[in-house]
Symmetry: C2
Subunit: 458 residues, 2 copies
């Protein structure tokens, strides 16, 4: 029998690691444990499935258990790893449905247990009718609730990416939806001026937005089911259904119990090759911490694209190759109703927290030449370091074909470009795609002027 | 009287230079000569105006003569500079309509005379009914022809960007259109496999595409007007209207006569501050040569975005500031019917010519997550240097929201990134915007595999 690799978690990170390792070294004996009933699915697609934009669960599955098996991976569905024993180098498992248990030895272990939704520690959060949106099973349960016809009022706790996506999905299904968020504008990872556009878009489709407030209790009916949500300011919001949209935290309980060290961010500490500090133990995906290339701080960013990359890196290394994950810069994108928003690098608040001194510049332009039919408004905001002019962060908000422009800026930040370097870039121009000065270039010009004006006043 | 700046040419480059110089140093006496009747217009928008996508000529004008005058610039419309006398530091001019002439002294001169369409040296090219599409006046003349109702058959000579845009414009207007191009696929700056997609799109809207052939004569009727086009292979194509779409060459005649040196590419030689080798004489826009940052060769690239940047740089420097134009990397984008295509860096042929040894990789993916409604096919092709893996060029072809992805790759090339660095980039991911592995990242992965496989076989 070959060297034995146990993978905990069969979604993006785990399945990528398993696939790469097996592909590189077919003699490896790869066993992948998955608590749910599916592998390699798009968790990010769940809100769209709930809202009906995506027709079926099956469409969310990139690679089924049988496909993984055909590639030689021993997939154990509905099987939860309950303990990792590092000394004996075994994992203990339990069949979630049948209740059977067992042990499985390993030479290499990949910990890819993902994340769990944040759940405020307030009364009633455990009630029936309160849902996270983390797994395919969560999605199926939420869909069943909505299909049942008994839901009228939905309260979404937290106005982050997932919170707003779910709110929109419920609104598309004709429900009364309220989003409660602690900040003054939704999606707190954006600067408030960009967040204000998001708030307008959300309200524009008839979603109630309760800001600068937070949920302090979920009230239940006589059957123990959610009935209403109470907020700190005293609002009582009717709620047949409560959805957690506060974001996630890394699912590290099992690792902690086993003695696999965490980093200061709360995620599992790994090096660039996705090795934990325990020999032969790797970790990848939502449960690990990554280095933020601008703040140099460890951060936990739960995002499918990172999970896939990290899983691939772990798998290549386990399979005898060499690969690294060089960190993140905080790029994110979302569609809020018909508004597109994206960010990369640091927000103003994050730049302050990281100790940077900076100037900002915003420009309003159009996605195509102003005279071209279908041209849409776009705002680009830049955050540039004082004196050096280095681009620290950027945010884009607009309609159709606006937000993906963030990628060019992400590459600028990755390469530590200054705004005056950026304004000379050879970006693509033709009237159906951009004004003759692309909004990105105009923003760089304005940011450069702000950097220059600031230096003049030193 | 202040220092006197004469600007030859009132479109993108000239007007930008004039505006910047005057803004920075209001005491400058800036005179701008323009042979046509408009300033600061979008030449790139002319095909869309001809086709009716853009409603009126006025929409193409970014800044009218009166707006420039309000900013303190002395605009002389319909006035052609006929000679530059460097010793006496005067330009001689002629009123195009009235015929009056005069001389104007200068301290600084900006030469921004743009480009002229390439015209094959074959019989009949000077006939009535043969048009370039360079200036607003060309556009107006073409529109008048089409509005007259006497045109049925159009032959476009050359299947480059402008050629295809004009062909589509004429097709939209219900005409029978044939494009004749020397290459085996249209838009020869793309690799043939990408060009094949363009050919399909062009034919898909009912445009005839005659490839690997060229025009050898324009036949005229008894009124001296174009009647048909004859090609090298012996085709005789009926043509009431012939449009030149072979591209342009720098309009340097006046500079040459004056003794302002050209570079080896045929454009005016300038340094990064847009200074010619003659003291106090600047040049910008379609008439200058730029450095290609990958081939290190001088090239002439006629594109509005470069003209605007170069004009700005010249104007800032004339106004006492400091700015540079660091060169180009060959980024270009166009919409061919409903197909979007873009390129950056070197094509395979250009990379060969520049002496690079390289591998290529192409991937077919989707613009959004595959399961997301509206997801469209996209192909990304990469050209990477052997051994080093440095990205030398990229081409993108696809439908809605595909082609602007080229910008991220342009920034990668600008920063001399290798394909293995690119595959780790933190690009924006959410299902409405990309698969979990963005097509750009998948292409980088595949290109990296090609680089690795190539090294293995050394």
């Amino acid at each position: 029998m070959g060297r034995r690799v146990i993978v905990i978690g069969g979604d993006a990170a785990g399945a990528s690691a398993a696939s790469q390792a097996k592909k590189r070294q077919p003699e490896l004996d790869v066993v992948m444990f998955e608590r749910g009933r599916a592998t390699s699915y798009s968790a990010c697609g769940i809100p769209y499935w709930i809202g009906g934009t995506v027709g079926s669960e099956a469409e969310l599955i990139a690679r089924s258990p049988d496909e993984h098996r055909a590639a030689g991976i021993d997939v154990r569905l509905r099987t939860e790893v309950t303990s990792i024993e590092l000394d004996r180098r075994v994992v203990l498992w339990r069949d979630v449905q049948g209740g059977g248990t067992g042990a499985e030895p390993f030479d290499e272990l990949v910990y890819a247990a993902g994340s769990v939704p944040m759940r405020p520690q307030v009364p009633g959060m455990g009630a029936a009718g309160v849902y996270g949106v983390q797994t395919l099973d969560d999605g199926a349960a939420l869909r069943a609730e909505l299909d049942s016809g008994r839901v009228r009022n939905v309260v979404v706790v937290g106005g982050g990416y997932i919170g707003l996506e779910i709110a929109e999905a419920c609104r598309i299904r004709g429900l009364q939806v309220t989003v409660v968020d602690r900040s003054a504008t939704p999606v707190g990872t954006f600067d408030p001026d960009i967040g204000a556009f998001i708030a307008d878009a959300v309200r524009g489709v008839g979603i109630d937005l309760v800001l600068s407030d937070e949920v302090v209790a979920v009230q239940t009916n006589s059957h123990g089911r959610a009935r209403a949500v109470v907020t700190a300011s005293g609002r009582e919001l009717p709620a047949d259904l409560v959805v957690l949209g506060l974001g996630v935290r890394p699912n590290v309980g099992l690792a902690q119990q086993a003695g696999i060290p965490l980093g200061t961010s709360g995620g599992i500490a790994v090096d660039v090759r996705m090795r934990t500090t325990v020999d032969g133990v790797w970790a990848a995906g939502d449960c690990v911490e990554s280095r933020h290339r601008l703040s140099s701080q460890p951060v936990v960013v739960a995002l499918g694209t990172h999970a896939n990359k990290q899983g691939r890196v772990a798998g290549i290394n386990i399979g005898g190759g060499y690969a690294t994950f060089p960190g993140v810069i905080g790029t994110a994108i979302t569609k809020v109703c018909d508004l597109e928003v994206a960010r990369t690098g640091l927000s103003s608040q994050e730049a302050l927290a990281a100790g940077y001194s900076f100037v900002t510049a915003s420009v309003d332009s159009t996605t195509k030449a102003g005279y071209f039919p279908g041209s849409q408004p776009i705002r680009v905001k830049m955050i540039a370091e004082r004196r050096s002019g280095r681009l620290l962060g950027a945010q884009v908000v607009g309609r159709q074909a606006a937000a993906k422009r963030i990628d060019a800026l992400a590459v600028c930040i990755w390469n530590e470009m200054t705004v005056d370097q950026i304004l000379s870039l050879d970006l693509a121009y033709a009237p159906p795609f951009a004004p003759v000065w692309d909004p990105v270039l105009i923003a760089a010009r304005k940011a450069f002027e702000a950097v220059e004006a600031d230096v003049d006043h030193l």
